[in-house]
Amino acid sequence: MAEAMGFFTDTTVCIGCKACEVACKEWNQLPAENGGVRELSGDSYDNTRKLDGIHWRHVRFIEQFKGPYDGRWLMMSDVCKHCVQAGCLEVCPTGAIVRTQFDTVVIQSDVCNGCRACIAACPFGVIDINPVSGTAQKCTLCYDRLQVGLEPACSKACPTDSIQFGAIAELRTRAEKRVAQLKSQGVAAELYGADPGGPLGGLNSFYLLVDKPEVYGLPRHPELPTTNLAKSGGLSVASAAVLGLLAIVGLRKRRMDEQSRGGGGNV
């Protein structure tokens, strides 16, 4: 496997220009919703609202104001996290979701049959159906570009280098330096998803945030969906055993005296 590649997104220099969103759509030939004819969302400058099958990049706008001109406006370009332990890949029943030689997670659109298990499995709400293909889609970290030595379209288009692409190990070093710089300036900056010992084995798209992850729409402790499997399965088996036993006991062939009492309904 080649070196693990990914994104480091420094939200402190994001200017919310959405060039990443457009560059992504242009490269991946994703349609605009309803052909581009839409209504104003009223949610700050965010009119695409979320990541989904035709928005593989999304810029979030968070207005935090105490009064007129008194506050801050956070912006963050969000994308698939390319989790080292990926829930979508885990549950995919067709084998459409694979891990590439760049340690990225890619949905093969020609294999996916649109069962949508991956959508519910992703802790970040990244994946959705692309209505054109009828399959689940998300950021591929521009797998096609990576294979020929190009950087992904979004980071290439990002004018302020808020989105940085590179080898994960190197990005982590860079990110830690930036956090130290911000902390020395009195900014409460933290990395999200940069820790290989953290949730999901670390995220190959990680972020520098200046507020709690929830503020940016990110779960604090993302988990694999299968963490629930043993417990849920075990309890199901237990209840199956109980009900099975009850059924065998209730429906078994009766001795004559019981039968003469006219049914066993009052057990």
Partner: protein, 303 residues
């Protein structure tokens, strides 16, 4: 706030709800049929045959619902075989949707075989090929095939809940009881279906009374599991402060409490059974849509 609120809804809607409902009935019916077949009296035979038929028809409907629901229905087989390496099998033992696909496939196979056997026994098969297949499934083989179908039915009734739990969605993944709950509901609705359909195949009063007595127990188990399920959700229960919470309440009231009361008062078996079916449907409706309907992030921000 639960981290599940940051995930996206998989748009599992009416087709999937119907599948969960029909699959549960088929699975429950199959289980009860097999138990009657193995442990019951000879006069319970119509109940068993009804159960196997319900299982077979239910399995076929389930398969159809699941396939139609796919974004690309013609690729349904990608869940069973590796599309690039056909006929290598596609199976993930840790993914409910993967082993569930196999479960549904095998359940369909065994329940249809069993049903064909039953129909051959009654002489109701006219197609020579079907008659040949049905004729082969008899005696001990029929019992074994029926038994497997029953066990698979138990699986089908329960795995759908596990499937929901093995996600990152609100409600579904917030507690571990959904598999058990759906299983109990599947068995209770399966029993209710048999109560409604078996008389048409000549089931006796006694058979029906026993089924009804069992259904009471199943409903009690279901109610117990439901309480445990709701308790396990903790703060997430705020989600029920919605239309779907009302639906759940109606489902519990009409689908569990009312039938229990009717059983206790020895009132109409059929009426109680119909209510159980309604309750089973509303239970799935509420649990699916309550989670599906959450507008992610926005609710999260408000929580």
């Amino acid at each position: 706030m639960s981290d599940t609120f940051f995930s996206g809804a998989p748009h599992w809607a009416w087709l999937i709800i119907l599948y969960f409902f029909v699959g549960g009935i088929a699975g429950g019916g199959s289980l009860l049929a097999a138990i009657v077949d193995w442990f019951g009296a000879p006069e319970d035979r119509p109940v068993a045959r009804t159960g196997y038929n319900v299982a077979a028809v239910g399995a076929i409907i389930s398969g159809a619902l699941l396939t139609i629901d796919l974004g690309r229905p013609l690729r349904f087989w990608h869940m069973l075989f590796q599309s690039a390496n056909f006929p290598t099998l596609m199976f993930k033992g840790w993914s409910p949707i993967s082993f569930g696909a196999w479960g549904i496939f095998l359940f369909g196979l065994f329940s249809v075989l069993t049903a064909l056997g039953g129909m051959a026994e009654e002489g109701r098969l006219h197609n020579p090929a079907l008659r040949a297949v049905g004729g082969a499934v008899r005696g001990t083989l029929a019992k074994v095939v029926g038994g497997v179908a029953g066990l698979l039915g138990l699986f089908i009734a329960g795995y759908t809940g596990v499937l929901l739990s093995v996600t990152n969605r609100p409600i579904w993944a917030d507690g571990p009881w959904l598999g058990a709950l759906f299983l109990a509901s599947g068995v209770s609705t399966g029993a209710a279906t048999l109560i409604l359909l078996a008389p048409g195949r000549g089931a006796t009063e006694q058979s029906l009374a026993r089924l009804s007595a069992f259904d009471t127990k199943a409903l009690v188990v279901e109610l117990l599991v439901l309480v445990l399920f709701v308790a396990s959700l903790g703060a997430v229960n705020r989600v029920w402060l919605s239309f779907w919470g009302l639906v759940l309440l109606v489902g519990v009231g009409f689908g569990i409490l009312a039938p229990l009361r009717m059983h206790a008062q020895r009132r109409s078996l059929a009426g109680a059974a119909r209510l159980v079916l309604l309750g089973g449907f509303l239970l799935r409706l509420a649990t699916i849509f309550a989670s599906e309907g959450i507008e992610r992030y926005r609710v999260a921000a408000g929580m």
